[in-house]
């Protein structure tokens, strides 16, 4: 047994509205270990970490660092005491350069800025921790992997004793993940203590010494990682056995529904976001789009769904050029979509469930004078709530009061319940609970069976590999690989090589 570094003593956190995020959690982190915190989404991992990092105050309980009781009111307090955190969404300022982000908030810096001094300081730290960050770049121009390493460097340089990494691999390719793990092992050798939050079992197994499992805001125990089987961990995490296998019968694709040729798009900085993209999507197939976040997937989504018109090239929806077809008309023609950011683009969170369900086709629910047919609305809404297993009290409940998974189900219910010819999905299961994920996966497969043409953009490679019939990989806006996954399956590692731009297929059939 090592020396205790941090002790969490019976932390309980109750949010306004009575939601209990953490209930009586106690755990101990030892000097120099990599300690995994695992649990499903909503198990209370993030809340616990925010408490450790001074972003939330616990309702009761205490934190001790080297046996000294900590009173953390802000992140500043936490950093001062030696607790640093790399957030899932990087706390970097995109418009500033690496060194500016690096020196931001550092104690004891002179009032006047000396660029060269700061840059040298960054390079020295970089050398010490071997992270290979180029501090002279604007953050906006860095790869995701480098941004993350800049974050780690920034925090280590502040002399933290404990480094918290919140789902650090969620945004990385398999290769970048390996690289990160190699760096973390080095840091461990240098004596840095690391808390590693994840819900991916193989990663936990690869990197952690001990793990603590959270479920429904409670601590299910801390174990040395070697002594636990994967089955045991998932059982503790979920509380039931989970079957991860998805049954997908072979299916011959039908007619072409969406055909896109030579798509090009650039952003306001002149950076090309889509480069000569060709896509053909047939009825009854699922086409997966793989790629590291920010390699043109969102642009492709916006262009294909008619939300962005500033592209060059042509898109045909069932043979018609869509450039002059409005989003509303596309919707009526049978194009459905699930956007990546459900709170911003998927629902109007202040409105009720039924308003969100029916607003695109509200004309079906009005009398000829325009008055709403409340009874019909209520019946249909209840039916959808039932069909899509949305946990809600009534159709008139506001969407923002639902959990993430249920909000996503509202979006899915709206988009899947019409006459769907094509379905464009962007991260349909990001950040929702396992139950909702498997429900939505089942629904996607049902739509495939019914003959919808489905495009699935996802950064969850497991999801892509288990659902897709064909997979294409995007890198810097370009299609760099196409696989017929249904006939000859590919692996995560293979995809990763293309996602990182290490490999590129020379000739491709679309």
């Amino acid at each position: 047994m090592g020396v205790e570094l941090l002790r969490v003593d019976s932390i309980t956190k109750v949010f306004d509205g009575g939601i209990i995020a953490n209930q009586d959690i106690s755990l101990t982190i030892l000097q120099g270990e990599i300690h995994g915190i695992v649990g499903e989404n909503g198990a209370g991992k993030s809340t616990l970490m925010k408490i450790l990092y001074g972003m939330e105050n616990p309702t009761s309980g205490a934190i001790y660092l080297e046996n000294e009781r900590l009173e953390l009111r802000t992140s500043r307090d936490a950093i001062e005491k030696g607790i640093g955190m790399v957030h899932q969404h990087f706390m970097l300022i995109e418009e500033l350069s690496g060194w500016e982000n690096f020196r931001l908030g550092l104690e004891g810096k002179p009032f006047l800025i000396h660029r060269q001094d700061d840059l040298n300081e960054l390079r020295e730290a970089d050398k010490k921790y071997q992270l290979n960050v180029d501090g002279s770049l604007l953050v906006r121009d860095m790869s995701v992997g480098m941004k993350q390493k800049l974050e780690i460097l920034k925090i280590l340089h502040r002399g933290v004793k404990l480094l918290i990494l919140d789902e650090p691999t969620a945004v990385l390719t398999p290769q970048e993940t390996d690289e990160l793990f190699a760096r973390l092992s080095d840091l461990k050798k240098q004596g840095v203590t690391i808390v590693f939050i994840s819900h991916k079992l193989n990663e936990i197994r690869q990197i952690c010494d001990r793990i603590t499992i959270l479920r429904d805001g409670r601590n299910m125990g801390t174990y040395p990682v070697g002594g636990l089987s994967n089955e045991k961990i998932s059982e503790l995490m979920v509380g039931r056995e989970v079957s991860q296998t998805i049954d997908k019968p072979f299916q011959e694709p039908g007619d072409v529904v969406i055909h896109a040729e030579n798509l090009k798009q650039a952003d306001v900085h002149g950076v090309e976001k889509l480069v000569n993209v060709d896509i053909t999507l047939r009825a009854g197939e699922i086409l997966g789009i793989a790629g590291v976040d920010g390699n043109g997937q969102n642009e492709l989504f916006n262009v294909l769904t008619g939300q962005a018109k500033d592209y060059v090239g042509q898109i045909f929806f069932e043979g018609d050029d869509v450039h002059h077809i409005s989003i509303n008309q596309l919707n009526k023609l049978g194009l459905s979509k699930v956007p990546a950011d459900r709170m911003k683009d998927g629902v109007c969170k202040e409105l009720t469930i039924w308003e969100n369900l029916f607003s695109p086709r509200i004309k079906n629910f009005t009398s000829k004078f325009g008055a709403l047919k409340q009874k019909k609305i209520d019946e249909e809404a209840r039916k959808l709530i039932n069909d899509f297993q949305i946990k809600a009290n009534a159709p008139s409940q506001r969407v923002q009061t639902l959990s993430g998974g249920n909000i996503q189900k509202v979006v899915v219910a709206r988009e899947f319940s019409t006459d769907v010819h094509a379905l464009i999905l962007n991260e349909p299961t990001r950040g929702i609970d396992v139950g909702a994920i498997s429900f939505i996966h089942q629904r996607i497969l049902e739509m495939r069976e019914k003959g919808s043409a489905i495009l699935l953009i996802s950064s969850d490679l497991g999801e892509l590999l288990s659902l897709s019939d064909r997979i294409i990989v995007m890198y810097k806006g370009e299609v760099v690989a196409r696989f017929n996954h249904q006939e000859s399956p590919v692996t995560e590692q293979e995809l990763g090589l293309y996602m990182l731009g290490l490999k590129k297929m020379e000739s491709m059939e679309s």
């Binding site: 990087f90 009032f111 002149g270």
Partner: protein, 310 residues
């Protein structure tokens, strides 16, 4: 149009630029810190009155200046307090500040002087004009650059100082970081609200001088609603200059130019007075439209797409 070549004309351009430039600096610093101050107009108005009143009653220019600055700072801090601590929407607080100032200034003016329009019955003080040795002896340029009101020169120093502060100092970096991503700034221990109050402090000072220039420099008394839209104009200048103080100065010069040319046209041209009075506004709108079109063109160029004939 011979007047365009005269030193007096260009002197007036620089003088007319001063209040807008100070207002633009105020808008710059606030938006760099990630806020939006719609209340600059009202803040300047209040300072203009307070400077006049206190200097008239104490017969001390210094105390008058302090009063003008203090009222500017108080109104700016009010914006900060309501929006940052009470989480009120920024636009409505700005509008409230404008309405408050427009009403209170006239009320106080009437109470003290009996006039609803002007404070000319009081003998208030003004900031002195400064003649710069050496420079004033340069032919032509000397007559353009020297002899301005003290506040004009202060404004120039502020513009250069503010860009230095923003881009070369720790506080400036903290302000820009807070403005672009307050959450990220807070995560490295920057106290974002404190940083924003520092920005608001500067905003109050700039508004204070801008307002006092009108009532204790350009004119010798306070007149109701004498800011006359310059505070709102500064918000446009701020957008136009992407919140960079030196570019904002350039934008304000355009305003100074158009205002001055209007005055001269009224004296020397036969055109309808109403058309001439509309000139500065039409001019500014044109400049804004052209600037925006140029920006769009640039973006489209950058996008580097040969738009096919669709």
């Amino acid at each position: 149009m011979n007047f365009i070549l005269s030193a007096d004309f260009w002197f007036s351009v620089l003088a007319g630029t001063t209040p807008v430039m100070l207002a633009t600096l105020a808008a710059n610093i606030v938006s760099q810190s990630g806020m939006f101050n719609l209340g600059i107009e009202g803040t300047m108005l209040m300072s203009a009155l307070m400077g006049v009143l206190v200097s008239a009653f104490t017969q001390s220019l210094f105390l008058g200046m302090l009063a003008g600055l203090l009222s500017g700072i108080i109104l700016s801090f009010a914006l900060g307090y309501f929006t940052l601590y009470l989480e009120a929407p920024m636009n409505s607080v700005g509008v409230a500040i404008n309405l408050f100032s427009a009403g209170v200034t006239v009320f106080v003016l009437t109470l003290i002087t009996g006039s609803k329009v002007t404070s000319s019955s009081l003998t208030s003080l003004t900031f002195p004009a400064v003649h710069i040795p050496l420079i004033r002896d340069i032919p032509f340029l000397g007559r353009v650059l020297s002899g301005h009101n003290l506040i004009t020169y202060l404004g120039w120093i502020f513009a250069v100082g503010l860009s230095f502060l923003l881009y070369r100092t720790r506080l400036g970096l903290d302000i820009r970081a807070t403005g672009r991503n307050a959450e990220a700034a807070a995560s490295v221990g920057i106290q974002t609200n404190r940083v924003r109050f520092k920005a608001l402090l500067l905003c109050g000072i700039f508004c204070g001088f801008g307002g006092m220039y009108l009532s204790m420099g350009a004119l010798k008394s306070f007149t109701a609603n004498m800011v006359a839209g310059r505070g709102f104009l500064s918000l446009a200048m701020d957008t136009l200059s992407s919140s960079h103080p030196l570019l904002g100065w350039g934008g304000s010069l355009l305003y100074g130019f158009s205002e001055t040319i209007t005055i001269y046209l009224q004296l020397y041209s036969d055109a309808d007075l109403k058309v001439i009075s509309a000139f500065p506004y039409i001019f500014i709108i044109l400049v804004l439209v052209i600037a925006q079109l140029a920006r769009n063109l640039l973006v489209r160029r950058k996008k580097n797409i040969q738009l096919k004939g669709r």
